[in-house]
Symmetry: C2
Subunit: 401 residues, 2 copies
């Protein structure tokens, strides 16, 4: 907590990571811009860039015609096609995997529909590992995989990716991270995070919330998950299980929730509540089911409109409480909540106006996810890139050749 200052070597390593992070998040950046962004002199930037180039993480190029006279500053680009991570997603309704290059570019992806059947970890791990093998086979020989991470729709122990509970997928106390690491067999562990947490991270690093220091992200799948960014950092809590905003109680005498409690945000706003209120439970499920209700309400179906209003009411109530607690710059609605919010925005906004202090809500912006269905995979990729961005050369030296 109160460590002393770093050594010169630690500073160099830190600076290598900072520079790499700039080009990873900001794309091609000139040496001159890096000099100004990082507050370092030109020769230091040159030395750092040379180290990263030698490691194969970036390359330097002459920019296109800049229109200015004089010698142009070289542009530093991430080696997107060469340096990549594997990102995985376990959602209630889909399994997905992607190969994502430095700079956040999806190079390849695989996806399968998941049927709503009992949780079978072996089958899920097998599908994801199969995707990984297919994608790896198709990569060039000079590429390097610098990390792997998975997003899981449940509460996940940070240390080892052990799934504590995922009520909507039927998972409980499952050693998912360990199994996936073993099956992928990359020689490096697969990190695992909660899907909504990782989607929040993606929106805050390269989505609608880019640059926000304080952001609340709500993710609708079958359940409602959350990812909260406080002062630029994802809220983890003591065990890494923080952000379970789907299990805030918004209606103490309300609907039973999969967690065993009553009136949780998830129970009042989740897919099942919406479908039941609309009299459509048992018809289409998932995104299709939700879209059908939103569309019916748009077309003037009174039952669907009433369902949207009931759900919007509790959504606004829950978001209002979150605004009072977090005083965020932005609230982002992702996953299925994107549609629900867009279909009930007036209701949500009026509930927020009635239920929050002026001081906590006055500058808040309500937005929908910019990355859409890719948010979760992109967030898993950011988690997978963590190590190489923290200490690039050390991370590379650890990879098995």
């Amino acid at each position: 907590m109160m460590r002393a200052g770093p050594s010169q070597e630690e500073i160099r390593r830190h600076n290598l990571g900072v520079l790499l992070r700039h080009v990873h998040l900001g794309g091609p950046t000139s040496r001159a811009e890096l000099t100004s962004l990082m507050g370092l002199n030109r020769s230091t930037i040159m030395a750092l860039t040379a180290d990263l180039t030698a490691a194969g993480l970036v390359r330097e190029e002459l920019p296109g015609d800049t229109g200015k006279a004089g010698r142009p500053s070289l542009v530093v680009r991430p080696e997107t096609a060469r340096v990549y991570v594997l990102a995985f997603e376990v959602g209630v309704d889909r399994l997905a995997a992607a190969r994502i290059g430095l700079g956040g570019v999806i190079l390849d992806r695989r996806e399968a529909v998941r049927e709503r059947e009992p949780f079978d970890m072996g089958q899920i791990v097998g599908t994801l590992a199969g995707f990984a093998r297919q994608m790896q086979r198709e990569t060039r020989d000079d590429t390097v995989c610098v990390g792997a991470a998975a997003a899981f729709c449940g509460a996940v122990r940070k240390a080892d990716g052990f799934v504590r509970i995922g009520p909507n997928i039927g998972a409980e106390e499952a050693p998912f991270g360990e199994e996936l690491s073993r099956s992928i067999a990359l020689g490096l562990p697969v990190s695992v995070g909660n899907d909504a947490n990782l989607a929040a991270l993606a929106e805050q690093t390269r989505g609608v919330g880019a640059g926000c220091r304080d952001l609340v992200y709500l993710h609708g799948d079958v359940g409602i998950g959350g990812g909260i960014v406080v002062n630029g950092q994802l809220l983890g809590g003591a065990g890494g299980y923080g952000g379970e905003i789907g299990h805030m109680v918004v209606n103490p005498d309300g609907r039973l929730c999969g967690c065993g409690s009553r009136g949780c945000l998830e129970a009042e706003v989740g897919e099942r509540a919406l479908l039941e209120h609309a009299g459509r439970y048992g018809e289409a499920v998932g995104r299709d089911g939700v879209r059908a209700v939103v569309d019916a309400a748009d077309r003037g179906d009174v039952v669907a409109q009433d369902a949207m209003q009931r759900v919007g009411n509790y959504l606004g109530l829950g978001v209002g409480s979150l605004i009072n607690v977090f005083n965020p710059e932005m609230v982002v609605f992702g996953g299925m909540l994107r549609e629900i919010y867009l279909g009930s925005a007036a209701q949500v906004r009026s509930r927020i106006a009635a239920g929050t202090l002026v001081a906590t809500r006055e500058h808040v912006r309500l937005r929908t996810s910019a990355l859409g269905d890719d948010a979760t995979l992109m967030g898993a990729a950011e988690l997978a890139f963590t190590r190489v961005l923290a200490d690039p050369l050390e991370a590379l030296s650890r990879l098995t050749p």
Copy 2:
């Protein structure tokens, strides 16, 4: 966000602050312990200590008999009697001020009961400034005031201590920080923070939550305030208004709240709810009124017991939601909530058990405030010490001689 590493001089200044913070929070500490705590070599520690000694912030002494053979390591002590801050508190029922020495020792204090009358900023500032003058007159000539801060029972703008709203004291849009700074006339601004935020800071730095990285503190006055520590830092949010957990909705069709909403935690658990449920509203108010209900319930008064149970039910419900959102190591009940929690602990705990995920609650400890009624003043003192602990020599150089 992505700054480059610090210079040698920045590192020295940082290390001076870190060392001072160690003795401020940990009390007298030997050079040997500092060497090990800070991960620096002995000569660096000697040089840092010499600088702080020359500045009059610490002194070095031979320890008492250590019982060990050999030359004992010198002990570094904070100059508690010489270096101090002024801390103020504006509560609904009291105005207080204290002179608090480096190391967190209350050297002097003044206090006045505040009647529940309309908000009169001039009168409050006058009383606090009078306390400050009295205490300053009685200090020795060689002392130095390194900061001042106030805790206010309302939502406060961080930048200038402007009070946005304090519903329970009747304050709205009041330039409290500016007025208090002008009246105290120390040549340095008086920082102002929310009382519950500052009490949380005090409990986390030197109270029951010392060392906790993730802590939720609930403060009961007339209203319910909160202070939340996330990863070691007080949650401020975009405008510094975060932590308003008293205005989380726990009962959407519930009691009207002073904020204009319905069923806020404050409306269901605050002083007024308890007194009304107990049929005692209009009798004693404040701490005395609350104690009377708790005592009556203890003695078997059925109406008082029912009131405690109703309030405990919503308290447990609200705390359960906070545990799911924050996954904290500890929840601390302070102010009047100390008594209410102790009088309804079984109810609160069973509500939490029913309303939280195992993963988010499994290691959480529920505790009452260790600093009691001093928490708020101690928190204001920590805020006032911020500058000298961040960069000791720079802070001293800015003081008017």
